[in-house]
Symmetry: C2
Subunit: 132 residues, 2 copies
DNA sequence: CAGTATCCGCCATGATACTG
DNA sequence: CAGTATCATGGCGGATACTG
């Protein structure tokens, strides 16, 4: 019975642990979390160094408190982010990547870097340059 | 004057072409396209092989016609995807990656693969297994 | 400092129907 | 086959106010 959910998920791709191309596959949910608007940036930020809430808030420019909280809780519940509260007052909470998060970030960083380094080669940037 | 937009964007990070962590940076827009719900999957799909519309529609399970069209147009306008219409009737349209898209996909594929291969290690999957 | 609570607009997404 | 057009809606995301 415990296997039924996996059987169902992998019914059409028996030998593949998770196929993001298959609708209804759990991996798609995780992929959505990871590639969400803020998820990528938060993971990439924490990859550079563990950070406290406020630091993270400043590092990822433009993120609202709500979205930062929501994103962090999501990534924590996925097992990518570790939340450590000092339990002091005033509160101090440190966020870092779990080993799983580290593996993921190792793939995310090159992506974020590439986009940053190559925006100007995109047609989007070309178009802007012309109209300017 | 033509440089003003870039100056503004890079005002706080002069030597970096595009910093996704900076709000208002173009690279963030591109990053959003690339990491959008369907963008990742479409790019990854086309990386495996060029495809026609219908083939792509079937490959990326669950995507609506509207979203497929929208995603393709977006990626095309970014310069990642090449659209080639045969001009015949009935119509035949082939989609493939541009060289720029190839570079991007090379970074995306490992990410998609990793997520697919490691979903079961996430807390999300662990939680599901317990309740089952 | 590190959040939570609440309200709300709006747009991304989806379903359906239609077309050259 | 390869789309477009239209409509409906859920939730993403922002702004603001409040708290231990």
């Amino acid at each position: 019975m415990a296997d039924s959910i996996w059987d169902e998920i992998h019914s059409d791709t028996p030998s593949i642990p998770g196929n993001p191309f298959a609708s209804g596959c759990l991996s798609r949910v995780v992929l959505d979390h990871v590639t969400s608007k803020w998820g990528v940036l938060v993971l990439a930020a924490l990859a550079s160094e563990p950070m406290r809430w406020g630091q993270l808030h400043r590092y990822v420019e433009g993120i609202s408190e709500k979205m930062l909280a929501q994103t962090l809780r999501q990534l924590e519940s996925d097992g990518f982010v570790l939340r450590q509260s000092a339990g002091t007052v005033p509160p101090r909470v440190d966020y870092s990547l779990t080993p799983l998060g580290d593996e993921l970030a190792a793939l995310l960083i090159p992506l974020v870097r590439w986009v940053g380094d190559n925006v100007q080669r995109t047609s989007l940037a070309q178009g802007l340059a012309e109209t300017a």
